[in-house]
Every structure is written in C-alpha cells, then in structure tokens.
Symmetry: C2
Subunit: 228 residues, 2 copies
C-alpha cells in the first residue's frame, strides 16, 4: 500500500491481452493514476495494439503511449520473424514464440517513463503458473530487475524505492479471469492470440489461445473470445 | 578470458564517442567478432551516429546495427528534450544531461541481440571515475544488471553465463586515451560533444567536451578534436 507522500502515478505495461488488462484494473483499484505503455515491436499479432487502445480507454488511463521499437531486427522469435512458424503444439523447454529479452526491454522503457513521471510503481502482467516457459516471467527475474532498477535511476540515488508489481504472478489463468471480472473487465475487448486476424479474431490453436480458453473453462465463465 | 567452446561473438555498445570506440578496440583485442550496436534515440548530437559508422568501419566490426528508439517521447533530459538547455557549467548531483534509464534501455537491446547471436559477452563503455554523476555508470549497477540478465534469458536457463564487460570502469579519461592509442585508435573520428554540429565539430564548453579535453591534456597527447 502507498505511504503518505507516495507518488500516485503508476506505469502499467499494457499489451492488449487478458493478463495486462487485469493488471491495469488492479493498479487502478490500488488508487493509482495509470500511465499505460504499449509497444509496436514488429509483432505479428497487430490486433493487440488496437486492443490495447480499447482497454486503455475503457479503464480510463491518464495517458497511453505506444512506443515503436524494432525488436524484429534481431530476429530469433516466431512472434517477430516471419521465417519461423507459430507452432500449434506445446513444445518442451523455451518455445520459439519467446521474444529475446522482451520483458527486459519493455520494463526498461517503463523505467524511463517512471523516472520522468517520478513514479515509484511499475506494473507488469507476468505469470509463473500458466505461463509458456519464458525465463523472463519468473519471480527471481522480477526481483533481480527491481534491484537493478533501484541502482539505475535517480530514485535509487535519491532514496525513493521503485517497485515492480506483479499481481498475477502466482495466479492460475482461471484466477486471473475471476479477479478481472470482479473489477468489471469485459474480456471481449482483449486479444491474446499469437496469430490473430487484423480484426482481433483468434486462431484458437496457438499456446496462448489454448491457455486462455482453458482459463475461461476452469473459471466457469463463458469465453467471450471471437474465433476465426 | 574465453574458455574453449566460448562463443566468439560479442555485442559492443557503440555511441561514436571516445569511450565506446576504446571499448570496441578492447573487445577486438580479446579476440571477439564484434557486433556493434548504436542507437538513434532522439539525441541532439546527431553527429554521434555518423561517428559510430566511421568507428565501426575503421575497427572492422562483423556487423553494425543502428536501432531507432524513441526515448525523447518520455522527455526529462537536455540531450533529448529541446525545452531543456545543455548547461555549460558542471552541476551538483545528477545533471540535466542524464537520459532517464538510458543505459538500462541500451543494455536491454544488447541483451536481445546477444541472445539471438548466442553471444555470452556484452561490452559497454561506462566509467565511474571521470563520469558525469549518472547513476547507471556505477559498478554496483552493472553487477545488478548482469545478475538480472542471467535470469532474463535462455542463457541463464540453459546455464551459459552472460558477462557485461566494462573495461573502462576504473580508468581516468587520460588512461582511457592511452589505452585506445595503444590499440591504434584515431580519436579524430570520435565525437563526444553534447552539442556537436552536424559535421561533428565540438562546442568545447559542455561537460563532455571539458572531460575529453582534460583527458588529452592529462595523457600528454595532442587533442585531435575539431572545435567550432
């Protein structure tokens, strides 16, 4: 909880997916003025960005920035490299949909904006339960990022503590969905599919679609996703 | 030193200034194939980018990428925000030329590229002696970054150790210049000035110019800088 004098601004990483929409609702419920940050990073699933705009508007953020960054130039992921196919079956180990250092890059931009806003709070929707085997979704990674961030910035030098909040980290997908619905989120406006159409229709077959569909089933809630 | 089987590729952050040119020469002298990474980040001193191309070519890098990132959209620094003047006198504490979270953002892109290249080595020219009071130039920051990076990536999961090399961190500017000259660097092609002209001529008055000029004087070497 915020102490007296704590800056009321939080930077929230917003992808347009189910998880980050829930995180934004959590940050707002904590009383923060939310500054949502999305990325146009060469991802295949462009419908995400439209979804992020709809979510930001529906949840009344103070400001929404979409930063353009060229992660595709480094290649190495099915999400940004057209030469690598998005798989329809779960893989062993780290999957090809992993984008190298993605959360590290995203958090670094969030850190830059937080520093300018004098915000001490960054929210990110990583999840260590129903996740896809990405190294940068683990609690030990987030803890190390927070330690680094406090040494990287004015905040660290001037003694303010910067926190990286991960309200979903220990929740199952079904628990995330129930949490978001308590906050009134309409998940129909979110897009999780790695291969969504430009209109935001989901393939229903990729890892992300299957995790999401199972989440609604486990939560006992009708799935509002529009499938192809 | 590299162990047998160690990947020979290193990612080197290259600004076009004196320090990073020296770092590139160090990485090359260690036997690495160098992948130089520069940023077009809305900096005022655009001559830097031309200098980075000349340095990359002169030191025979394997590949040179210039990533465009919009740090200016967050404001907060004299180097990217035209509303903040570049000062001509040294300031107390963290100066206005500090770009929020800049090294964290730069290292994160280097980490993404290193991961794709399966490189275990990133080089950055931070310096904790003749530096300008930036929090992200301190050894404790670099150590925390390295710890985080090893948790963020496949390398960490698969047991390869990723190192962030800072060969200049404990050197004075004069020592850096002597080191670079032993490696044959022509510092005339580097640009350090925060307000350089498009042709790379230096103002001679900003913090960066004064540190650089004093370095050449202390090293007992003629200053090859072209001033306005």
């Amino acid at each position: 909880m915020k102490q007296p004098g704590h800056n009321k601004k939080a930077v929230v990483l917003l992808s347009g997916g189910l998880d980050s929409a829930t995180v934004l609702a959590c940050a707002r419920a904590e009383g923060f003025d939310c500054y949502a940050l999305s990325f146009d990073y060469g991802q295949r699933h462009r419908a995400e960005l439209n979804a992020s705009k709809n979510v930001a508007a529906a949840l009344s953020v103070t400001e929404h920035k979409i930063a353009t960054i060229d992660l595709a130039q480094f290649g190495g992921s099915a999400l940004t490299d057209k030469a690598i196919a998005v798989p329809h079956v779960a893989s062993e180990g780290i999957p090809v949909t992993y984008v190298p250092a993605r959360n590290t890059v995203f958090l670094s931009f969030a850190l830059a904006w937080a520093e300018v806003l004098k915000s001490q709070d960054i929210y990110i929707g990583v999840n260590a339960v129903d996740y896809s085997g990405y190294p940068d979704c683990r609690p030990e990674y987030i803890a190390a990022y927070e330690t680094m961030a406090n040494l990287a910035t004015r905040a660290g030098v001037e003694g303010h503590k910067l926190s990286v909040h991960t309200p979903l980290i220990n929740l199952s997908k079904a628990e995330i969905i129930r949490l978001g619905m308590r906050h009134g989120i309409d998940y129909a406006m979110t897009v999780s599919c790695y291969s969504a159409s430009d209109e935001g229709r989901a393939c229903g077959q990729c890892d992300s679609c299957r995790l999401r569909a199972r989440g609604f089933a486990d939560a006992g809630v009708p799935d509002p996703t529009q499938y192809l």
